[in-house]
Amino acid sequence: MQRSIPAKIRRASGQPAVSFIPQTDLALRDPSLPTPTLDRTARDRIGRELRAMYVDLARQPIPQRLLDLLGKLEETKG
């Protein structure tokens, strides 16, 4: 198990900050930006952020009390 991941939830490294400003707003500020459908863009951003958060959580070390609980199981049980 990985033990080095700090408890604090961090953004996965190397990922650019994700903007949730609707694409229409971005287009107002930078007309050169492409304008895909708003829903699709927002949806993709939310999906990426959600998965990144979840992966970070799943990488945290399993608490000892849960390991102890499972350790009591016989190897062959089930």
């Binding site: 961090r10 939310i46 998965r51 499972l70």
Partner: protein, 180 residues
């Protein structure tokens, strides 16, 4: 003879995902670990009822979700807390840069109704199909789809507002963006 299926290993393998689901659902690591522990205990007590070869993860998520909801209902009865303390807990650590972690996202997630939050987590992060999520939540596939859609729309709204606030001291820009 080596067992064909090692339940201990299988449960251990499911724990990281169960914890991620529990933490995202409750916003509270300790409470999530209590839920995961109770889930494992209940799974072990009912191991005979698990059909080998079926989806162990879906079975475990169903147990955890049921525990969460019975606890949620109990808490609602015991303490008048209509807004839940979830959001309050998640807004701690203001000293941390909002772009360095998931506070924005988790705070927004916390504002969703639990049924929308769990549907989004199951579909968008836990990797379940709509059919599996419907089974876990004991509702129709269409209900899951609708909850996920509403969750995404609400999150987009919440996060767009927060980003506008992040733009800084240019109140003209901020006002202009908010007016759109």
């Amino acid at each position: 003879m080596k067992p064909a299926f090692n339940m201990r290993e299988a449960l251990l393998g499911a724990v990281p995902s169960l914890r991620a689901f529990g933490i995202s659902l409750t916003g509270d690591v300790d409470r999530a670990d209590d839920l995961v522990q109770d889930t494992l205990l209940r799974a072990l007590a009912n191991i005979d009822r698990f059909e080998r070869g079926t989806n162990l993860n879906a079975w475990l998520f169903t147990i955890l979700r049921n525990l969460f909801h019975s606890e949620y209902r109990k808490r609602r009865r015991e303490v008048e807390d209509p807004d839940g303390s979830y959001a309050a807990r998640l807004t701690v650590h203001p000293e941390q840069g909002s772009r360095l972690d998931f506070e924005d996202f988790r705070t927004a997630l916390a504002k969703l109704p639990p049924d929308q939050r769990e549907a989004l987590l199951l579909i968008g992060a836990s990797g379940f199909s709509y059919e599996e999520a419907a089974q876990i939540c004991e509702c129709a596939v269409g209900t899951i789809k609708s909850r996920v859609n509403r969750a995404r729309s609400r999150l987009a709204q919440l996060l767009a507002v927060e980003d506008v606030e992040d733009l800084g001291p240019d109140s003209m820009t901020r006002a202009a963006l908010q007016a759109i």
